[in-house]
Amino acid sequence: MITVALLAVVLGVVFDSLIQMQSSESFQQDRSTSLDTMRLTLNQMTRNLRQAATINEATATSSHLEFTTYKLNEATPTTEDVTYDATGTTLTRKVDSGSAVPVVTNLQSTNLFTYTPAPNTTGVQWVAINLAIVPKNAPSTVLVLDGQVNLRNRTAAQL
């Protein structure tokens, strides 16, 4: 009887530790996946934005960004329209008239984009992006990646 009781105590401690480890591992995995997604999304956004030909300033908000950018791998570059839209907890990406594809979920906020004009030049010159995600397995944690893009094809970016 005593042995069983002691064993129960020991197993309880062991399994509690295992549960904590498993929970921690779950969080770690979720964090890692979220970071990967955020990095990929931010890299794609900055890459597209950096070479944007124009930004649709009439529709630009903190949760909506629409711009025309150049395609890759073309001898004579042509353009495509890219739209990012943050609604609820999801950020979607749309190219031309295609369907909107979710690229990031579990957004903490839809306030992603901040626009800054250059001195002596009308229109947006810099776009700051703030991606904040709440991993589902650690609701009290917020992962943040941010970046700022200088639009290279705008007048003020010229040398």
Partner: protein
């Protein structure tokens, strides 16, 4: 019985061991997974840093390429150049393109370990800055007369008058060559817009003052404005006319878009919507793009410099000898009205630039194209008439255009055919200190930028984007015209981006 108890005891002894091993196994699995994730995070983070740095290293190469071009008067490096920064290494290659454009390909590489390294490739095109967007640009007024067609937009710092039956149309109009651009708008930033009988402004009409009748915009019978009509004031809050005595729209024709005026709107013509007594700010007046001459901008073998009046005869002899196949760059230093650059009868064979520092440019017997090749004709005269920038001595009345910075009479047609068939020659006429005048059959693609413009008898001009970026014009010689990130799998010699 003893055997049974003994057997049961031995099975219970093994339970603790199995439970312990199971717990250790699970813990090991979890720990391994966490270690893997931690390693993945570190690797991904490191590679991401390399990826982010690589673009800036590539840009370092681009900046060095630009510095090289500046230091060598536009001569391109003979081969690929390699350099390093604190973050990585770059390689760049510069390719000279026609008409003072350059393509810079640069690759930035960061990191030595394969799994952590990254390389990115960019392609930057340098070109003269955008300077010329209007078909006709005048620091004062623009007045058309007798069968004129403008495909593109008109800008005047004072008044715009479209003579009866004349048209200012969008590039999409059937009368314009395929590929033409422009909206067919007319802006009189500090003046009025007048459309005479049956004339057309296919785009918007925007005025910034009013005439003695109080009209900012007036349309005679049959005239038409295809876009909006806006009679605005340059004074904040239209405080210069509290009684609405001016800035009126007098419409005897048709205004297809919204009509907005600080004054009254009337005239009995056709409207869509009307907003009288509504204050709108006038367009700010514009300055003419600047020009800076540098011999380094032009290929040495084709650059000719003459100092007038000493070289006047030599210049005329050269023109006479090459009249049927003129091309190259001609810088005329000095000169005045007594030593005009006379281009009568010249046939343009290739890119031709004539810059007259103080002499006027004339052609009373026409200018044509020697072939069907793509070419650019730039005529720039800084001649300042004695009567000022809008010298009344420069007139299309009577005989030849008189005291003009640039004056053409009879068949200024540097084209292989009519405009609707397209054109092989793009023309920029630039006269910041004096008027440009056309008389009798001027027909070309390009733009006219002058202190004043006078048109008469069958003048057709189609805005051509080839004149938008010409070396020497604008605040800088070269700017980044296009910045692209290319596929990182390509090399410096890859054609595709």
């Amino acid at each position: 019985m003893t055997r049974l108890l003994t057997h049961r005891d031995s099975r219970e002894d093994g339970f603790a061991l199995i439970a312990t091993m199971l717990a250790i196994f699970i813990a090991t699995l979890i720990a391994t997974s966490m270690m893997y994730l931690s390693f993945h995070d570190s690797t991904a983070g490191a590679r991401n840093r390399s990826w982010g740095q690589a673009i800036h290293v590539a840009e370092s190469g681009m900046h060095e390429a630009i510095a090289y071009l500046q230091a060598n008067n536009g001569a391109v490096p003979p081969s690929t150049i390699t350099g390093t920064t604190a973050d990585g290494t770059y390689q760049y290659k510069v390719t000279a393109l026609p008409r003072n454009r350059y393509q810079i390909d640069s690759i930035g590489s960061v990191g030595n370990v394969v799994s952590l390294s990254a390389a990115r490739r960019i392609r930057v095109t340098l070109a003269p800055p955008h300077s010329f967007k209007y078909a006709l640009f005048s620091l004062s007024d623009v007045t058309t007369k007798n069968n004129n067609l403008v495909c593109g937009d008109i800008w005047a710092n004072t008044d715009v008058t479209v003579f009866q039956n004349d048209q200012v149309v969008a590039g999409t109009d059937p009368q314009c060559p395929s590929g033409s651009i422009g909206s067919g708008s007319a802006t009189a930033a500090g003046g009025t817009i007048t459309l005479q009988h049956n004339s057309v402004v296919e785009g918007d009409a925007w005025s910034g003052n009013f005439d003695s009748s109080g009209d900012g915009i007036s349309l005679a019978g049959g005239a038409r404005i295809g876009g909006f009509a806006k009679a605005s004031s340059a004074t904040p809050a239209c405080a210069d006319d509290p009684g609405h005595d001016g800035y009126a729209i007098d419409n005897g024709g048709t205004i297809a878009g919204p009509a907005t005026a600080w004054g009254t709107i009337g005239g009995g013509g056709s409207f869509s919507t009307q907003s009288p007594m509504t204050c709108t700010p006038a367009a700010a007046t514009k300055t003419i793009p600047t020009f800076n001459y540098s011999a380094a901008n032009y290929p040495g073998p084709s650059l000719h410099e003459y100092t007038f009046p000493a070289d006047y005869a030599a210049f005329n002899a050269y023109i006479a000898a090459n009249q049927n196949n003129l091309e190259g760059t001609f810088h005329i230093i000095g000169g005045d009205a007594s030593t005009p650059v006379n281009l009568t009868g010249v046939q343009i064979a290739g890119d031709t630039t004539i810059i007259a520092d103080s002499a006027p440019i004339d052609a009373s017997g026409g200018i044509g194209a020697a072939n069907n090749d793509d070419k650019l004709l730039v005529l720039a005269s800084f001649y300042a008439p004695s009567g000022g920038p809008t010298d009344s001595g420069c007139t299309t009345n009577g005989g030849n255009p008189g005291d003009c910075a640039i004056g053409f009479k009879n068949n200024f047609q540097p084209a292989s055919g009519d405009l609707t068939g397209g054109n092989n020659t793009a023309v920029l006429l630039y006269a910041p200190n004096g008027p440009v005048a056309f008389k009798n059959n001027a027909q070309f693609q390009g733009a006219v930028y002058a202190s004043n413009i006078q048109l008469k008898n069958n003048m057709n001009v189609v805005y051509d984007t080839r004149v938008d970026q010409i070396v020497g014009f604008g605040p800088e010689t070269l700017v980044v015209d296009q910045w692209l990130e290319c596929s990182s799998s390509g090399s410096l010699t890859t054609t595709d981006c």
